[in-house]
């Protein structure tokens, strides 16, 4: 997570409800060992233009139950690989949510976000407060502030550095 403020800003890619893990990255690509090669297939089914056009810092905005289905960590990973700064959704599947933080990709729950965010607009995200604002319309929406543990993992840079830090403290 961006050190310091916890504020991100980026262009919105808007998705609907129930974007499952196969929409994010299909099962048939899971044997690809290199993430940068795999990332070329991200969102291939719902938005084939995504992988070619997404820019560093862009923000994925989605409706209910984002990332349902498989436990595959490849789903948040291909987004991170492509430079997605944050995923904001009305709700997440438990596995996607957990996996995203584990690899250091912030995920924020904001009810009704798909009614206010439009594809291509700019979203400003305050992770600590759990609030977002749509820059073009000035509309501010309040989501859930991140749970303490998730913030801790994110601040460490993901679960692996978090685990290392914890271990060092113990020994």
């Amino acid at each position: 997570m961006p050190k310091g403020t916890g504020v991100l800003s980026g262009r919105i890619w808007l998705f609907g409800d129930n974007v499952d893990t196969d929409q994010i990255i299909q099962g048939r690509y899971l044997t690809i060992l290199d993430y940068s090669e795999m990332a070329g297939h991200a969102f291939e089914i719902p938005r084939p233009e995504f992988a070619g056009n997404v820019k560093r810092g862009d923000i994925v905005v989605a409706g209910e139950n984002f990332g349902g289905g498989s436990s595959r960590e490849e789903a948040p990973h291909v987004l991170l690989e492509l430079g997605v700064g944050c995923v904001v959704a009305e709700s997440f599947s438990r596995l996607f949510y957990r996996n995203a933080f584990n690899i250091g990709l912030p995920a924020l729950i904001v009810p009704d976000i798909t009614n206010s965010a439009k594809d291509g607009m700019t979203l400003e995200v305050n992770l600590v407060k759990g609030a977002v604002s749509v820059v073009e319309t000035g509309q501010i929406l309040h989501g859930q502030p991140l749970p303490r543990l998730m913030l801790e993992i994110l601040r460490a840079g993901g679960a692996v550095p978090w685990y290392r830090k914890k271990k060092r403290k113990q020994s």
Partner: protein
């Protein structure tokens, strides 16, 4: 308010924490009894372990490694993943290893006696909810969490709130536990149990075979659930005494004053259940078979960790005996494990299938994950006994998958269109 009564999830997780307690909503550190990893080990987990600087796993006897998703390897990449898995197993001295000849992880793990009531079992696969059928807390986690467990034997868990489902009454002829869970998932919706535990109770569940129970717990994740839990019944007692004869265990029951978010009652006597089919592209799209009868199919598939077990093959063999798979479609049957395959051979089911014109494959995930042995082409339609029908799940993004019980799949294979199995009986 002090809450005293505990749910199954709270009790099963509680026995694995340092304090011996776990309450819904709390985040706890819990010790895992067994970790199952499959190809995710070679493709993702090993590099995380390296990053963590882990040289030795926490306990080589509490890990099961399975090569099952692309078994035997379907291309050079899966071959390389298998090589890495084998090397890791050797280097670490891991006791429990299933190479490409064994079958699907969620079937071989219980067959090897690696789960018993009361356990905490984690798998690097979302359908690790399956072992709830054995009165164990089990759920899926991905690569990073699996790596942390491989290193420490522990992981953090948010203790889930629970939904209680009580089912009474009998499943009619040709209606299977798959139909019941498709109905439940559709009633809850694809995120209706997100972050939650589904606790199954009632005489219907108590009288079910281990296989039928596993089908139900397997699919709880399709409603977003963290786990699907059941209490011990006679079938589970028998199973554990055969597969883990020396295991010590006691059954876990929820307290009578346990707190549930919701209690759902299903009475199959007053409202009889018929075959259910989940329409593309969600397992929560379940409808009575009558609404989709006549839909033309290109492929009928029976297999997977949901419905590739002996009782599934048995009902399919009953329906297919002396019949032919429709010339307009193909049928692929994948027994869930080598043991299942052998029993199906001995029972004559394999011969019945081959004579009917079905392709019987080795035990693997194969077609279920769109990997090999039955991948769908553009515009094709499949009726499948698996658990997921997301767009592109079994192959081309323009293919369609209808989920159903093995009975419905077999009856449909004969007609070449989706068919009510009660008519085939």
């Amino acid at each position: 308010m002090i809450k005293l009564g505990k749910t199954l999830a709270e009790k099963l997780l509680g026995t694995h924490t340092e304090t011996g307690k776990a309450s819904a909503g709390e985040i706890v550190d819990a010790s895992v009894d067994l970790l199952m990893v499959h190809e995710v080990l070679g493709s993702r987990i090993l590099s995380v372990l390296e990053e963590m600087g882990v040289e030795k796993v926490w306990d080589p006897e509490r890990i099961l490694v399975v090569n099952d998703h692309w078994a035997p390897a379907s291309d050079t990449q899966s071959a390389e993943i298998h090589i890495r898995n084998r090397r890791f197993v050797r280097q670490q001295g891991i006791t429990h290893f299933c190479d490409v000849d064994c079958g699907i992880c969620h079937q071989v793990l219980p067959e090897m006696g690696l789960v018993k009531p009361g356990d905490l079992v984690i798998g690097s696969d979302s359908h690790s909810t399956t072992y709830g059928a054995f009165n164990a807390f089990s759920t899926g986690l991905a690569a990073t969490d699996s790596a942390i467990i491989l290193a420490t034997g522990k992981c953090w868990f948010r203790v889930p709130e629970s939904i209680r489902i009580e089912t009474t009454g009998r499943l009619p002829e040709m209606v299977m536990s798959k139909d019941l869970i498709l109905k439940i998932v559709s009633d809850l919706g694809s995120s209706g149990a997100n972050y939650r535990s589904i606790e199954f109770h009632g005489l219907t569940i108590d009288s079910m075979s281990v296989a039928s129970r596993m089908t139900m717990c397997n699919m709880t994740v399709e409603a977003g659930a963290k786990c699907g839990l059941m209490t011990v019944n006679d079938a589970v007692r028998d199973w554990v005494s055969i597969h883990a004869p020396s295991a010590q265990w006691t059954p876990t029951l929820p307290d009578t004053d346990a707190e549930y978010l919701e209690t759902i009652k299903i009475d199959l006597n007053s409202e009889p259940l018929g075959p259910i089919v989940a329409l593309p592209h969600s397992p929560a799209n379940g409808r009575p078979v009558s609404e989709v009868e006549g839909v033309r199919i290109d492929q009928a598939f029976i297999g997977s960790c949901t419905n590739g077990r002996l009782e599934d093959l048995e009902i399919a063999a009953r329906i297919l005996k002396g019949k032919r798979v429709n010339a307009g479609c193909r049928m692929v049957i994948t027994p869930a494990s080598r043991d299942t395959y052998l029993q199906a051979l001995r029972s004559g089911y394999v011969e019945t299938f081959v004579r009917a014109g079905a392709v019987v494959t080795n035990s693997t995930c194969g077609a279920c994950v769109g990997g090999h042995l039955g991948v769908l082409g553009p515009g094709e339609t499949c009726i499948s006994s698996t658990n997921r029908n997301f767009r592109g799940r079994m192959g081309h993004p323009d293919s369609k998958v209808y989920l159903a019980s093995p009975a419905t799949v077999a009856a449909s294979a004969i007609e070449g269109v989706i068919t009510d199995p009660r008519r085939a009986a």
